[in-house]
Subunit: 256 residues, 2 copies
């Protein structure tokens, strides 16, 4: 089977033009089939603030009311997605920017209200691997914004890490899939204050111990839960690494 | 040859959710290969105002400085484009929303500064008909936002009417192309105060006379100039009509 790289980039990397440009250079140089998924939460918060709209977050998830879904559609689906595409095109990477609504790539349901009403937030139901295949086989590079839809006309705000792992697992029958999470840190750290303390290999048992001791916490937990699930479902490798180390062997490599 | 409809929608149609939904229903029902190009200038002006940024227009063209290109990228490439895609998907039209940067569909050059510096405004250099063919042949419906790129990493604001005629003429070797401009009026009017005064058939000679007498003026001139050029270059038919009359024989039909 051919290889497919599913790369997610987020965090501070997207905020700085130079850092982002360097990352996109690395991504453009990555040989073979590839898909990029980006975040953009900080830019969405900035635009909300400029428009006088309060940002409400619970456990790192954005409460997405009617005005907020418009803002994230503008920032994720428009500004970040299209600027990324234009920069990649300048680097001869034949990118096209899409949301989960485009080509019906990713359908989701609006998260049911239990204790918290997250608003227009989507939980993924299905990834259309055929549509991705058509693009990849034609030599195009999909750039995915963290938006899905309910197939009833409503866009839904959806976590980019989750989109990355869902796309990865949807593609395992056609490709040898490598999932790579890129951010501003060197990998999963055993000491958050020390960038040199990268855990180079992390298996599920060790992960449970790090969780119990509190070394791994907050935003890293859903990312790692998603990653181990992806490995279980047939993704060949998962790496969490610095955006500048995309083409190296650095970072944290996960194993079951 | 198979038929291809290239439909442009703009003006007040995009501003009202119900009117837009009705138009998109008509568009979804249009049988055969199709491409939609949308505008969005009024929404861009609204967002600019909310952000405290002054909108500068010269002869109906937006002066596009650094901040304005970000705004139109958000509004055209994000908000309007992705909402349109989500609504069409709910109507079982397998749409995907793109700019000219995506798949390198439309390359342009930044308009050279003569008397006026329009800023990040693009004049079209090339439409990639192969990329459009791949999408259309796979059964997808491209929804195009009025943005192009210079292939050097810069997005450019580009007139949607011009994009529609450029795509039309680029596709004449593969398809029998019909170009349809949809807006809130019934067609080209011989009396702008009277919606019943639609000129049902307009040839180039008559057009020159209407121009000389001042019956046709301002924004309609570039639209008609583009349309006659498209007919010359092999487009089979050009119609200017109300957004609600997309599937009828109404409106103004152009002939050479």
């Amino acid at each position: 089977m051919e290889k497919l790289f599913v790369v997610k980039v987020g965090g501070a990397v997207l905020e700085d033009t130079k850092t982002l440009d360097e990352f996109l250079q690395h991504f453009a140089e990555l040989e073979g089939n590839k898909i990029l998924i980006h975040g953009g939460g900080r830019s969405a918060t900035q635009l909300s603030t400029r428009l006088g709209i309060e940002t409400k977050m619970i456990d790192g998830r954005r409460i997405t009311d009617e005005e907020t879904i418009s803002i994230v559609t503008m920032v994720y689906g428009g500004l970040i997605n299209k600027k990324t595409v234009a920069v990649l095109q300048s680097k001869n990477c034949n990118a096209l920017g899409l949301t989960g609504a485009d080509m019906n790539l990713i359908t989701a349901i609006k998260r049911p209200v239990k204790d918290i009403d997250y608003g227009f937030v989507g939980d993924i139901v299905k990834v259309d691997n055929n549509a991705f295949n058509i693009l990849i086989n034609a030599g195009f590079v999909p750039i995915i914004a963290p938006l899905t839809h309910d197939k009833k006309g409503q866009l839904l705000n959806t976590n980019a890490d989750t989109i990355a792992s869902s796309i990865s697992t949807a593609m395992v029958n056609q490709f040898d899939v490598s999932l790579i999470y890129c951010f501003e840190k060197e990998g999963v750290l055993s000491d958050p204050e020390n960038e040199l303390s990268v855990i180079s290999e992390l298996n599920r048992n060790d992960y449970q111990q790090y969780l119990a001791s509190g070394v791994i916490h907050s935003g890293m937990i859903p990312k790692l839960d998603n990653s181990f699930k992806a490995l279980e479902l047939g993704v060949k490798s998962v790496v969490i690494t610095n955006a500048n180390s995309l083409n190296s062997k650095k970072g944290t490599h996960l194993t079951l």
